[in-house]
């Protein structure tokens, strides 16, 4: 296993993000990244053993962009800070975001974030045995929401939802029919994200108080 250089690794990750922004994640090829740096593709293999490893590093870079929360925050604020931090990253790098759900976050930055959530839940009074589960639930929601938002699972507006309905006879979709007027309205995703998060923190608090 040959040793890898690391001098220009950050530069390469930036190039990969730039390419992703310009041509989408599928456009991130070794050739494209190399070209962005005026290099040959094979030069990258001195820094990353494979394309997969490069993409893992890109994900690590994304997570590292989340600023650490100030020390004096309460547990809810910590959770919100981290969640909003991830969402801000998503806004900055929407096209790179699918990485979040397609590969495990094994980078140091990822571990650090999980640890902060653990601490937050512990100070909230969650029993030790429940902490890992609730961390998984929260992170699943946050990553899932942010990812759905940017990759289109939540639909790209009313036009889309109308088109989907048209595939089936309306009488087979009573729920959609009953909600016809709600579904046309545009959604403020930032607000929805905040409310969902508040609800989930309420849930945590509820579990704490009912366990006591």
């Amino acid at each position: 296993m040959r040793k890898l250089k690391d001098s220009r690794r950050p530069e390469i990750l930036d190039a990969a993000l730039a390419v992703a922004a310009e041509r989408g994640l599928d456009g991130v090829s070794m050739r494209a990244v190399a070209q962005h740096l005026d290099l040959t593709p094979m030069a990258l293999y001195g820094y990353f053993r494979s394309k997969d490893e490069l993409l893992d590093a890109v994900l690590g870079r994304l997570l590292a962009e989340i600023p650490p929360p100030p020390a004096d925050l309460g547990w809810r604020e910590v959770v919100e800070h981290l969640a909003n931090g991830l969402r801000a990253v998503a806004v900055r790098h929407p096209s790179a975001l699918p990485l979040l759900f397609t590969r495990p976050a094994v980078s140091p930055a990822g571990v650090r974030i999980v640890d902060m959530v653990y601490q937050a839940l512990l100070t909230a009074g969650v029993p030790k045995a429940e902490v890992p589960r609730l961390e998984r639930m929260l992170s699943t929601f946050v990553i899932g929401h942010v990812s759905s938002e940017t990759n289109g699972r939540f639909g790209t507006g009313s036009l889309d939802s109308l088109a989907r309905r048209a595939q089936l006879p309306p009488e087979q979709l009573p729920g959609l029919q009953a909600l016809a007027d709600q579904l046309g309205a545009p959604v403020d995703w930032t607000q929805e994200f905040r409310i969902d998060l508040r609800d989930l923190c309420d849930l945590v608090e509820h579990l704490v108080s009912s366990a006591a």
Copy 2:
């Protein structure tokens, strides 16, 4: 835009799933699927306009595998039925699962499922204006959990979590340290999924009662 044949579409989707099971989702190439059917790759283009369209159809097939809930279930049971149905699909086709989060579910089967959740929430007494949000929250969790479980975001066991910790000095990870004994234990994902879902349904009920 040429018209597509549909006679052998199901057969092709089965072949794609079989290839995914054998060689992983990345192994699903037009050539591999064709070979599985003793065809040339180009024969598939009579049935699907592109590989993307084929994969969308595979996702539709997965969702169509979820059995419709019996008519006499309460709203919580409907939600649980659908959630467990999706999870069962995930167990049957783990390697195809990343499709769930990487492309929007625009198939009729997907629309039908969303509609059933809408109906469930309405009968639960959720105000119309809140229904779409809660559906998104629930589906985000369900898809996210199932997807995390099968694609490894939840880690592949204690060995993995130990390895992750080793990347950083332990004194930087007080949360992980405090939970050392919990984190080694194996997790019953089926149970965790059920408990999470129960908690989320409790949350829905709480919102209903506090809105009244």
